[in-house]
């Protein structure tokens, strides 16, 4: 019987106007998104090649990841060139960003955005009338009057409905991925493929949560028009309101200075130490040693400043995550960007690596046995592996998504068991 219900649900959806319009919309969007973001990746790659050959200076830069095509996240921030200073790590040129300021006004239309915002809406539109719509047309009463059990019916409807929704999504993503992988500019290794697979899997779990939510609302209402209104408002709340409000609300709890203030504090340290260094008479026998002590003190003060700032940022992210825990959208954003190596965890890791590299260089320069003529070691950075991502908090975000699924589906199941089909 389950098979019959699934088949009926799939066929019913395939023939509906809703299916046609949503399939067309999602296919166009996914393909446009992948093509547009592929172009953006090529530009980022060009930019990286130009910045990498910076002559004379000791400038570090990591290449953009091809996975940024699917989830850009913080990749633009991660791929800026930076150099080590006595006090702090500085971005070597602010001119490496685009001159087109319009990028600041609008969001990157990557696959992550399409899944998070548009496909979640489509999932709810697929599910909002599964139960109440059938009740309105009278078919639900007829189905229930047969020997079909309610649990079988709701599971069949979920499976059939979700399958018919997710198949066009996979087709479009497959087409886009084939285009990207055939391109000579994109070089994806086995790790990248595993990450892309995980990203798509997390996308499916996220969309399943919204589908289940739509089903839950459908089981709680008796008219499809009411269900639609509630679904749209719940979607707006979960996708836009809670994540975006959570971000500004978190700032009320964690006081964080602006980067301009941080830079001024660094400047203050630099100036003070410079003055103190100038005061040391050059004729003194321990002149160089005293200068070095002052320099090291400035570096230590700068590091303390950076550490305090980064700790505050970490607390801000934590508070924001706690506030936005009521919605699957932030968990999915953090999980997806972390998986693709363009997220908060990766940024934190890169900063830590830069700090470690700085400490190493300071240690080398202060080492009496260090030959000043020899070249210091190069900075090497490898983005997180799948295992690391899951350890860094990816698993908890994944669990949150699964929990939402269970919650919404159980809610729908219970509501349907008590549903008045008349």
């Amino acid at each position: 019987m389950l098979k019959t219900i699934i088949r009926k649900e799939i066929l019913n959806n395939l023939l509906s106007y809703k299916f046609s319009i949503i399939t067309i919309l999602s296919t166009i969007l996914i393909l446009v998104s992948i093509f547009v973001m592929y172009g953006d990746y090529c530009l980022a790659l060009d930019n990286h090649d130009i910045l990498r050959v910076e002559s004379g200076d000791r400038v570090e830069i990591i290449p953009p990841t091809p996975l940024g095509i699917f989830a850009k996240g913080l990749d633009e921030n991660l791929c800026r060139s930076w150099e080590l200073q006595g006090v702090g790590v500085e971005i070597s040129s602010e001119r490496q960003k685009s001159l087109n300021n319009l990028f600041k006004l609008f969001t990157a239309p990557d696959l992550l955005y399409v899944i998070k915002v548009i496909l979640s809406l489509c999932a709810m539109l697929f599910a909002f009338d599964i139960i109440c719509g059938e009740k309105e047309t009278g078919t639900l009463r007829q189905t229930i009057s047969n020997t079909v059990k309610r649990p079988i019916l709701i599971i069949g409807k979920w499976l059939g409905g979700f399958t018919s929704f997710i198949l066009p999504f996979f087709m479009a993503v497959l087409l886009g991925t084939i285009f990207v992988t055939l391109s000579p500019m994109v070089d994806m290794n086995a790790q990248d493929w595993a990450k892309l697979g995980l990203f798509l899997l997390s996308g499916v779990i996220y969309l399943a949560a919204f589908f289940s939510l739509g089903l839950l609302i459908s089981c709680l209402t008796h008219r499809s028009s009411t269900s639609l209104v509630i679904s749209l408002f719940v979607w707006a709340m979960l996708v836009f309101l809670i994540p975006n409000l959570g971000n500004i609300l978190a700032r009320q709890f964690v006081e964080i200075p602006t980067v301009q203030q941080l830079e001024l504090k660094r400047q203050q340290i630099r100036r003070r130490v410079y003055v103190e260094m100038k005061r040391i008479p050059k004729t003194q026998p321990d002149f160089e040693k005293r200068q070095m002590t002052l320099e090291l003190r400035a570096i230590a003060e700068g590091d303390k400043l950076d550490e305090d700032y980064r700790n505050r940022i970490n607390s801000l992210v934590k508070v924001s995550q706690s506030i936005t825990g009521f919605s699957p959208a932030p968990a999915f954003t953090l999980l997806a960007t972390d998986i693709m190596g363009t997220g908060v965890a990766e940024e934190r890791r890169l900063k830590k690596a830069a700090q470690g590299y700085k400490d190493l260089l300071v240690q080398l320069y202060t080492d009496e046995n260090w030959d000043e003529e020899s070249e210091p070691p190069d900075f090497h950075y490898q983005r997180s592996s799948v295992k690391e991502i899951l350890g860094q908090g990816g698993l908890s975000n994944c669990l949150i998504l699964i929990l939402f699924n269970l919650l919404f589906f159980t809610g729908a199941y219970v509501a349907f068991l008590r549903y008045d089909v008349r």
Partner: protein, 497 residues
């Protein structure tokens, strides 16, 4: 009869679930948003004051008597935008150069008044109007209404006015509550121009909301069922709000590629350095010839760094200035020294002429101009492409009117440059005065700059902002007219059975 239809439409809307949910959402979100942002504004002000104090402290204690270093220490601090309790401004270039910054706004764009209007109100407007015609046809009430002596024009106007009224009222009420909070908040001081800007912003918001109501009405007059109508409406909404504006910027970046500034600088360096090498070689040869001709006199001239001739170009500008004064004094005393100095200057000018000619022929300036021109072309292309979407038009209007957009960034840069010039004149005068008092003034000497001019940012006058936003407002009005005319045409031919 028009009044009756308006009243009926208004009443049927306000007892509907859509109105209740929309009203509650609008009130709660607007007030919560304004309260949080007002608190955020207070924190931003605190941070701004801390930055001003820090800068003062640095300048008061460590202002060197070296012009370039002194100018490098002055960083004009931008105060938080006065509309910050309503709209969060976009980041200026200051943050771009920082390795440490808050990543959250990139992943989760903050919630503000713009979000409320563009997402919540537009969605609500379409929910209100998608079944205004198709829904009534399905219920059979449209047939009954039409069978009376009411013209279709009156029905459409009535539905439009009644529907819009039921939509705008909760919006205005929510905004009023928020504005009341702003006006009683002692941390926020708005003057007359700010209130005028708020009134204009409200008017632009109403134009935007009306547009989406009319779009829903238009779709409704072309649909037979409300279920089809809502799907079409949502399809259009997704395209106009979530897709077109975001995609257009990226498409324009690929259609009209511009090299990065770094790349242009590198190309310019590739032209400049070889030309500079030639100029240096020319001067070295000239120095050899002069040494043979003038002997000891030229050695003396050489010890004065050639009286600063050309050394500002090759060496330090300030050192050059000191040597220039010394050489000038020597030339006044000895006519032969003067002849030699003038001849050497001529040699230098020849070398410079050749240097400039090489730069011009290789297109040194053209590279910079091309970059600027291409960036303007790309930005304009993106802006014009995005104008297909009412969302982009409204964002330009709202941001430019309230000083939270791209125009305000340019305006800030302009005022910053003006202040930079003012400070440079002050610093030059200050260093010159200090030199007069103490001719042996060292670069490491710290100046007292407590009487320096302070940077005070003033908002751009409304007239300039209006000039910028009116074309976009015109496009919004045009969208309104097109959708209303289409809805009218659709309804005139609508089969009410």
């Amino acid at each position: 009869m028009l009044k009756t239809i308006i009243a009926k439409e208004f009443l049927s809307n306000i007892i509907d679930l859509r109105f209740i949910v929309g009203f509650v959402l609008c009130i709660i979100v607007t007030i919560a948003c304004i309260m949080i942002l007002a608190h955020d504004y207070k924190q931003e002000m605190k941070d701004y004051n801390a930055r001003i104090n820090l800068e003062d402290e640095i300048l008061d204690n460590y202002a060197p008597a070296a012009l370039d270093r002194l100018l490098g220490m002055v960083s004009t601090q931008e105060p938080p935008e006065r509309f910050r309790p309503l709209i969060i401004g976009i980041q200026g270039n200051e943050n771009v150069g920082s390795f440490d910054d808050n990543p959250l706004p990139i992943l989760f764009p903050p919630l503000d008044f713009l979000f409320i209007v563009t997402i919540i109100m537009s969605l609500l407007a379409m929910l209100f109007s998608h079944d205004a015609i198709a829904g009534e046809r399905q219920n059979g009430t449209l047939r009954l209404v039409i069978s009376n002596s009411i013209s279709r024009t009156t029905i459409l106007f009535g539905k439009f006015i009644g529907g819009i009224a039921s939509l705008i009222i909760p919006f205005i009420l929510a905004l009023l509550a928020g504005v009341l909070y702003i006006s009683v908040n002692p941390a926020i001081q708005w003057d007359g121009s700010a209130w005028t800007e708020l009134a204009l912003l409200t008017a632009a918001s109403i134009t935007f909301i009306t547009l989406f109501y009319l779009l829903g009405l238009m779709v409704s007059t072309f649909s037979r069922y409300s279920s089809t109508s809502i799907l079409n409406c949502l399809f259009l909404w997704v395209l106009l709000i979530l897709v077109i504006p975001n995609v257009c910027t990226y498409i324009s970046a690929q259609l009209c590629r511009i090299p990065s500034i770094k790349e242009t600088e590198r190309k310019q360096d590739e032209i400049k350095y070889p030309a500079l090498k030639v100029a240096r070689k020319h001067m070295k040869e000239a120095a050899k010839r002069f040494k043979l001709r003038y002997g000891g006199l030229f050695s003396e001239f050489e010890s004065m760094e050639f009286g600063g001739i050309g050394t500002w170009f090759f060496l330090d500008r300030e050192a050059a200035s000191t040597h220039q004064k010394a050489a000038q004094q020597r030339a006044e005393e000895d006519p032969e020294f003067k002849v030699m100095m003038d001849a050497f200057r001529q040699e230098f000018e020849m070398a410079m002429k050749e240097f400039r000619r090489t730069l011009k022929e290789a297109g040194f300036d053209k590279l910079g101009r091309d970059l600027g021109r291409k960036s303007v072309v790309q930005t304009n292309l993106a802006k014009n492409l995005a104008c297909i979407s009412p969302f982009a038009n409204f964002v330009y209007i709202a941001r430019d009117l309230t000083g939270t957009g791209l125009r305000s960034l340019d305006y800030f840069e302009q005022t910053k440059d003006e202040y930079g010039d003012q400070f440079q004149s002050y610093a030059e005068e200050k260093i010159s005065d200090a030199r007069k008092k103490n001719p042996a003034l060292d670069k490491e000497y710290y100046l007292d700059v407590s009487d320096r001019p302070r940077f005070a940012f003033k908002e751009e006058p409304l007239k300039g902002k209006l000039g910028e936003v009116l074309p976009y407002w015109g496009i919004l009005v045009l969208f309104n007219v097109v959708f209303f005319v289409s809805a009218f045409a659709g309804f005139m031919r609508y089969d009410v059975r």
